[in-house]
Symmetry: C2
Subunit: 382 residues, 2 copies
């Protein structure tokens, strides 16, 4: 193994750990902001770091199409290219090639598809995906897997999972070991506990630096997602990090950490921020709503981010109504810091052995809903 | 007079000065980034300040329509609203009401128009413009003037200028003196030296904290603009700052400083940055051009901005091709710092008594044109 993972504390099956990469350490449980096309949208990298993020995610599919993996390599690799000197995880392209590309054809060798950018034809295999992630200089490389459709009948899910496992073996063979770099396998098996177990055991036999759970957060619901995590974790090695892909909302993350997950990524804080949705301890608000137009209060009075320190809801509302870039920029920064603050809280709670109490507090605060609106001082007297 | 202006050095008619406002001092010659709708587009205020900017410009026309001057006042005034604690100058709305609004009707009282935002009907007078700028809490308030069409025959230009002068008198009467706040008159007169002189003398008789030159940079060309500055400056008081509105390109600014101008504003660095045009000491480049796709060099090797420190042209090219927000954000930051570095150079040159030599150096560097392209390391051998 080439990625060192320390377990620092445990609370139930939840773990407080640290993953050591060639570009620095990552405290877990960790949330990875998504930097699809070599940028976390609307954020300078220094600002991403200032939210508390220690690792970001890049997308193999997007970067292979534009500007091209060889181009990124010729410009010094992804860290230098995008000015993010810290750890980077890249996904394998398996998910995006199914959800974004056109005219896909899958066979045992890999996937042939047309680019959604310019219609050009591409062939992506486990070996090429690993090669691309090497060219990008990813600290954590993800195995190339087949994205099982949802819902899928058990035989279809099994066949798809088996192909992903065969591809995972090819990824392991193609991966070049280097200190501070590692390869994660991805557990598949849709909503079938037996398939999840088979996949976990298969991957564990091969041996990876870490284990991801894929194919969830696709519409199965939180309860089913938690059941699938519970059906997987017992069959993964305890001394390796576990990554729940594409999850999620704050309470999804809290519940997954309680069930033994160490790493997360999700577009939610960034994508929501761009459309005017802000996360608060008391749930989400849509800053475009007229009730915020005259509100001098911050998004979240308990948030220590620079947006809540310096800006009123009324100003943020104005930026979105005027379609100013700064609106999405500020809400993205706030949302990312909200997520990182949650992760710091989870890490502290595990260390203190009070994770369940912390989880209950987060759920209780969210259930209260947003603060009461203030009257508009400019409203005509009635 | 309520705005103190110090003259620290002089080189020919060019001046190195300092304008003291209730929100801080402004070293002149100064360039003011444009923050139309209570935001310098794509920039956090801290980042605007980091470029070296000490004062920004806000737009009365835009802010009166959205979110409304009373709204800004109820949220603490423009400084607090947009988190810019430094000095702010607001234009009067005179220019935008003519260029942006619909169904304008002008008479001696003021201008009636429909909003370009929602079609609502508004009436703007010298008195209301001053009231709005007070509500915004502008440190420098601009007189409300009539925007003379260009080109205009001399009698039309004279009539328009005379109305602007009568309006300037009403603005002076409506302006509330407070320490650290001031009112600037605006010289009009199109391209007619005699009208410029008459307008300058008229305003000087009334007496303002500063004097702007309006109605230039509207298509008359640099040579005519310089001639109009020369026809104006001798008739303005030496102990007050002079502001050339809406100018301009770097060599426009250099030439205007050589002719006695102290303050500038222009959308060029911000608007150009959003479309991919970057300023360098050797002229402008369009980062979208394919020649930059593989270039590991910064926009300008002699620039000390964080964009030139941390990013290759190849990355910036990628951001624009992928339509990522960070592209406009980074180029805006670079361009604004380029402008502020130019202003710092002008101030230093005046102090050193070598302004003409500095101006010649800037012109010579710009005439050289961009650095030679590099071969693409990924290009197929021919």
């Amino acid at each position: 193994m080439t990625l060192r993972y320390e377990r620092l504390a445990q609370d139930g099956v939840a773990r407080r750990g640290r993953l050591h990469t060639a570009h620095g350490a990552v405290n877990t449980p960790a949330f990875m902001p998504v930097g699809t096309a070599a940028t976390v949208k609307g954020m300078w990298p220094e600002q991403v770091k200032a939210t508390g993020a220690e690792i970001i995610l890049g997308n193999t599919y997007h970067l292979m199409l534009r500007p091209g993996a060889e181009r990124v390599a010729s410009l010094g690799g992804l860290h230098k290219f995008m000015n993010w000197p810290g750890p980077i995880l890249t996904d394998s392209g398996g998910f995006q090639v199914m959800s974004l590309s056109e005219l896909r054809k899958i066979d045992e060798d890999g996937v042939t598809f047309r680019s959604h950018v310019d219609g050009s034809k591409h062939h992506l295999t486990p070996e090429r995906s690993i090669e691309i992630q090497h060219l990008l200089d990813a600290n954590v490389t993800m195995a190339f897997d087949e994205c099982t459709p949802f819902p899928a009948e058990a035989p279809v899910a099994a066949e798809s999972m088996h192909r992903s496992m065969r591809w995972a073996e090819r990824c392991k063979a193609a991966f070049k070991d280097r200190p501070g770099y590692g390869l994660f396998g991805i557990v598949q098996g849709s909503v079938y506990p037996e398939l999840r177990r088979e996949s976990s055991e298969w991957l564990t036999r091969i041996g990876y630096d870490g284990y991801a759970i894929g194919g969830l957060a696709v519409g199965e619901g939180q309860e089913m997602m938690f059941r699938m995590i519970e059906a997987t974790i017992p069959f993964l090695p305890e001394d390796r990090p576990r990554y729940l892909m594409g999850v999620g909302r704050p309470l999804d993350i809290v519940g997954a950490v309680q069930r033994g997950i160490d790493m997360f990524d999700c577009v939610m804080p960034t994508r929501s921020g761009r459309t005017g949705q802000a996360f608060t301890r008391r749930g989400t608000i849509n800053i475009r709503n007229a009730r915020h137009a005259h509100d001098p209060r911050p998004i979240d009075a308990d948030c220590s981010c620079p947006v809540c320190r310096d800006y009123a809801r009324g100003y943020l509302h104005h930026l979105f109504k005027a379609e100013e870039m700064l609106g999405p920029m500020l809400l993205t920064a706030h949302n990312l810091q909200h997520y990182q603050t949650l992760m710091a809280g989870l890490r502290g709670a595990i260390e203190a052995g009070r994770l369940d109490a912390f989880a209950a507090e987060v759920a209780e605060a969210e259930s209260r809903g947003d603060i009461d609106p203030l009257p508009d001082p400019l409203a005509a007297p009635t």
